[in-house]
């Protein structure tokens, strides 16, 4: 839990006031998207949902699976 708040602090400390349009080029790259491989994430979420007790985080945690 403390790790979560530490990450929040780290992120907020390195802020910029604003970004001009030409400074958003790097973030516009497809590999810089927060979920740049949604199929992989979905497969992984499904595997971990059926093998562990936790789910969700990045998005909704719902099952839709009666995994045994």
């Amino acid at each position: 839990m403390r790790l979560f708040f530490l990450m929040v602090l780290v992120c907020l400390s390195g802020c910029s006031a604003s970004l001009t349009p030409w400074e958003r080029d790097i973030l516009a790259r497809s590999d810089m998207a927060l979920d740049n491989a949604p199929l992989d994430s979905a497969f992984n979420d499904h595997i971990y949902f059926s093998k562990e007790a936790s789910s969700g985080g990045r998005g909704f945690s719902g099952g839709g699976c009666g995994c045994n």
């Binding site: 839990m1 199929l39 093998k51 936790s54 909704f60 945690s61």
Partner: protein, 432 residues
């Protein structure tokens, strides 16, 4: 001079015709149709293989289309075909153990010293989901989601709505999401009475219901923060509440002798096995944070999730990955480490004395046990001669828990009381 609304609407159509004439039939955008106004599709296939246990093959097709008003419609179909054996919760014994199949019409046996595995399951699941994203105005958008899935003993349907708001010169996005899900469980043979003993095929096994159900509601609040030109972060808080049937109808707990740790003769079987019993509600809180940073043409990501619930489980998940981009291809190694504490009603087995006053809840499902897991993976993306994107991903998943807990009794000390697991994952994706 003012133009009214109907005149305004006509203008664009007429203007389009006029420009068409001016520029000639072969107007502007001449690029490949698919990449512009058509559907962007990914087909993927996942193969998941555990050593000596479950295997699954999961083909998927996912397609999305962006319309002129920037709204996006997405549709996804997943078929999941599962075979193999899964631990049923009972612990190993020096003797051969016999268990009754869920249907009540057959049985299976476990050799001496082996972890009991139920190999009944050959299950195919089909799942269909859709999403629609559209702008409300320049800074706000909505994403609607709906899904339905079906396998022979489980049906699920749900919907979700998320609202996203950009602010602070689009350096930040606030998101609020709500999701609801309704599950119908039709256990093979009906749902067993919680904590009742498993009976032999020749005896009657009283069952509760043919169908059980469960409802799940979830709220996720998220904040995206652009830290600087190369760095972006995401924070999510999620609260999920589920209510209804949470038991696993196919899992049991072994009752063992107080001193020897050996299985005790039951009503009709050579061992005493009590059916899984869990609370009929579960409240979960999760905190998720993710950081992505570009290192030149490459990118790296780290994420951490903390989850705790009212079953006594808390977990930590850390994931790291680094994507090295070359001109036409990329390679991405990744690592995941997960650890969880046990649910407060989890026992690897219970002694005869304890069985007399268990309380309401008891489960030996290894997924509720204290455990940790590691995943190491590598993914390579490249283009095929037709110009479309492909990727291959390989991962190794290893899960371990308290194989030799301090409260192991007698013969239990000779056996592994947590069914360690290792699995290989192979995935191939093709996009066009």
């Amino acid at each position: 001079m003012q133009l009214n609304h109907s005149t305004n609407k006509n203008i664009r159509k007429l203007l389009k015709t006029a420009t068409g004439c001016l520029l000639g039939a072969s107007c502007v955008a001449n690029a490949d149709e698919n990449s512009l106004s058509g559907w962007e599709t990914d087909i993927a296939i996942l193969s998941y293989t555990e050593t000596d246990r479950v295997s699954a093959i999961e083909p998927t097709i996912n397609t999305k289309k962006t319309f002129d008003d920037d709204s996006i419609l997405g549709i996804k179909l997943v078929v999941d075909s599962l075979t193999g054996a899964s631990p049923n919760g009972a612990t190993p014994s020096n003797n051969v153990q016999t268990f009754t199949r869920p249907s009540g019409k057959g049985s299976y046996q476990t050799a001496s010293g082996e972890t009991p595995l139920d190999d009944t399951f050959q299950d195919t699941r089909i799942s269909l989901s859709g999403s629609y994203q559209h702008d409300i105005n320049r800074m706000d958008k909505l994403i609607w989601g709906a899904n339905v899935s079906n396998e022979f003993d489980f049906f699920s349907t749900g919907g979700s709505l998320s609202y996203l708001h950009d602010f602070n010169h689009r350096l930040n996005t606030l998101s609020l999401g709500l999701s609801m899900e309704y599950d119908v469980i039709t256990p093979q043979g009906g749902s067993p009475i919680a904590l009742a003993q498993m009976q032999a095929t020749t005896s009657t096994q009283p069952k509760l219901n043919d169908t059980e159900n469960k409802v799940l509601g979830e709220l996720v609040i998220g904040l995206t923060h652009i830290i600087n030109r190369e760095t972006i972060a995401q924070f999510n808080y999620g609260y999920a509440q589920s209510s209804g049937y949470h038991n696993d109808p196919y899992k049991v707990t072994s009752v063992v002798d107080n001193l020897t740790g050996e299985s005790i003769v039951g009503d009709s079987l050579s061992g005493t096995y009590l059916y899984d019993s869990r609370p009929d509600s579960r409240n979960r809180h999760s905190f998720y944070s993710q950081l992505k940073h570009a290192f030149g043409a490459d990118s790296a990501e780290v994420s951490y999730r903390y989850m705790f619930d009212d079953w006594g489980i808390n977990s930590h998940t850390i994931e790291l990955s680094y994507q090295k981009n070359f001109d036409d291809w990329y390679i991405q190694p990744s690592l995941r480490y997960y650890t969880q504490s046990a649910a407060n009603f989890y026992r690897h087995s219970i002694t005869e004395t304890d069985a007399a006053n268990i309380g309401d809840y008891l489960s030996s499902d290894y997924r509720l046990a204290e455990m940790w897991s590691t995943t190491i993976g590598i993914k390579v993306g490249f283009k095929t001669p037709d110009g479309n994107k492909n990727s291959i991903r390989l991962a190794y998943y290893y899960q371990d828990g308290n194989t030799s807990p301090s409260d192991a009794i007698g013969i239990q000390k000779d056996y592994e009381l947590f069914p360690t697991l290792d699995a290989v994952i192979v995935q191939y994706t093709y996009s066009f």
